[in-house]
């Protein structure tokens, strides 16, 4: 990744992307907000996938962030969008800190299953907790920003768009720095062979845990965005098909590039809204075909379209975003 952009240039790009929302039509604005929010959580999955583990239960942290923000907003009246994102990230991160060390021992399919099981535990619990609205969930108020209250929907949509794009952009920059760092490279080594990493004197569990917590923080923040965009929360946040969709974005993106995650997330949202428009009853069908084609024809994700050559020299051909840690 030596030829990557300088962080300052990237910050410039993020601000440009946020301001670009001024000229976008309203329907694209909410679409882009969802895409940015999904990109954030998928980015977490990609961060984690670099250690060879795919989480099928990011819905756990997504829901933790969403419910945490919603409960705090309703009880203490915090409506500031930036604060809400922070609260979401903290909720996700705290839960990640509890679960991460327990789960770091597992690899491959067991890791996936365990994360899925934990998210379903939360789903099952939320479904039957009548204090939290049970399966119907509950509503929250419209977010504000730095004391400004937005009554115009267009302005409110733009505010949310700007906050989500900036947050996701900053997370993307952080991830890029992480990927180039010692920890990021060690994560790739864990994916190759976790036992050898241990022999070299690094703790593979620790590396997985740190990446796991980062993914949980991203997922929690993403949950906060989903809450602000829908102004409603229900247990579906933690359901396994929700988590499946995030893995979908991550697979679409591949693990090599941060930019690919944004492109993939946007592509998915576009496919979704267009198939909603033209093929209203078959969007899952479209999604399935889309996923199969990507796995078949772009096994390394969308990212491989533009960074194929750089990796060919020093990276043996891999088959997927993870390509199992265990040989």
């Amino acid at each position: 990744m030596r030829r990557g952009l300088h962080p300052v240039v990237m910050i410039g790009l993020v601000i440009a992307a946020a301001l670009f929302g001024r000229v976008l039509p309203t329907w694209t604005l909410s679409l882009a907000t969802v895409a940015a929010s999904n990109a954030l959580i998928a980015l977490g999955i990609v961060v984690l996938a670099r250690t060879g583990n795919v989480s099928f239960g990011q819905g756990l942290f997504f829901a933790a962030g969403g419910y945490g923000v919603a409960l705090i907003a309703n009880s203490s009246g915090i409506t500031d969008a930036v604060l809400q994102v922070l609260i979401g990230a903290i909720c996700g991160g705290l839960l990640g800190l509890v679960i991460g060390p327990l789960i770091a021992r597992y690899t491959g399919i067991f890791f996936g299953m365990l994360t899925l099981a934990l998210s379903m535990v939360l789903y099952g619990a939320l479904l039957k907790t009548s204090a939290l609205g049970g399966s119907d969930g509950f509503n929250v108020g419209r977010p504000s920003l730095f004391g400004m209250v937005f009554t115009d929907t267009r302005e409110a949509d733009f505010m949310l768009y700007a906050v989500s794009v900036v947050t996701t952009g900053l997370a993307g920059i952080a991830a890029t720095i992480l990927f180039r760092s010692e920890l990021g490279l060690a994560s790739l080594a864990v994916r190759e062979n976790n036992l050898r990493v241990e022999y070299l004197g690094l703790s593979a569990n620790r590396i997985v845990t740190i990446n796991f917590v980062i993914a949980a923080v991203f997922a929690g923040a993403s949950g906060a965005f989903a809450l602000m965009a829908q102004r409603h929360i229900d247990p579906q946040f933690a359901y396994w098909t929700t988590s499946g969709e995030f893995v979908f974005v991550a697979v679409l993106a591949g693990y090599q590039s941060v930019a690919a995650v944004f492109v993939a997330s946007m592509a998915l949202e576009l496919v979704r809204s267009f198939s909603n428009l033209y093929l209203p009853n078959t969007w899952q069908l479209v999604l399935g075909v889309f996923l199969l084609s990507v796995i078949l024809f772009l096994p390394r994700g969308i990212g491989s379209l533009w960074i194929r050559d750089r990796h060919r020299k020093n990276d043996p051909p891999r088959t997927a975003i993870t390509d199992g840690a265990a040989p």
């Binding site: 399919i109 299953m113 099981a117 099952g124 907790t129 499946g244 399935g288 075909v289 796995i295 096994p299």
Partner: protein
Amino acid sequence: MNLLLTIIVDGLIEASWLFIVALGLTLVFGVLKILNIAHGSFYALGAYVAATIVTLATAKGLPPALGFVAMLLAAAFVASVVGLMLERGLLKMFYGRDEVVLLLVTYAVFLLLEDLTKLIWGVNPIYATQPYDLFGNVSFGKLYYVGYDLVLIPIAILSGVAVWFGLNRTVTGKIVSAVIHDEEMSASMGVKVKRVYAFAFAFGVLLAAFAGALTAPKISVQPGLSSDVIILSFAIVVIGGLGSVEGAAVGAILVGLARAACVHLLPQAELFTIYLIMAAVLMFRPEGLFQRETARRI
């Protein structure tokens, strides 16, 4: 006392059809090393086909018993054909990829089948309750049970024994075990591995559809069935150990009893408990209760 008996009988009824679904899932994983998310869709497919056949049979005035047999056969047939087409037409393109990638492939298949069933059968629930009265009612002391529910238990036991016998006591079973153990070696010994794969996948699908057909008279057949069932059968096979027949049986009984106990004692905790058991088993025995640990290459 009565409550305990109710929980046990309800639990076993629940366990019986869950076991048949999980058996197919665990078999497919054992042979093909695919954790098939689309397995629940085949269960739903079986239920839909069964419901259609029952409705047809009733409209034609066939005796319910005949309709019952017809629905089981039709569901098994349709599903195995679809399963075979899927394995030969799609899954084989992805063999050799990582387990997690195969999981995603089956997730895509799940999405496809979900919409296809909606396109064919619509989104409204379908009822096929006629065969449910076939076996009358049975009473245990003060408890009354629908005979149909109780018949599920011997059917499940028979299926389990048949699969166990087939795997452990027949030549075909030995060949399948050889492929499970070492695919490359069996291929060099002249085993047609591709054929074993196709057969095992189709058979796993058949089991799922069979269970779907069996339960169709008990439930309202509607979209969403597949994701509920797959999530339960996942828990079962993970608890028992992926790829193990005995494990699937123990897992199914555990999950069935846990569900029944929760329904009677603490209805809020149903899904929660099952997944808590699954998480606990994974924490302490990640390979599942009935799976030997395997050495790994460094």
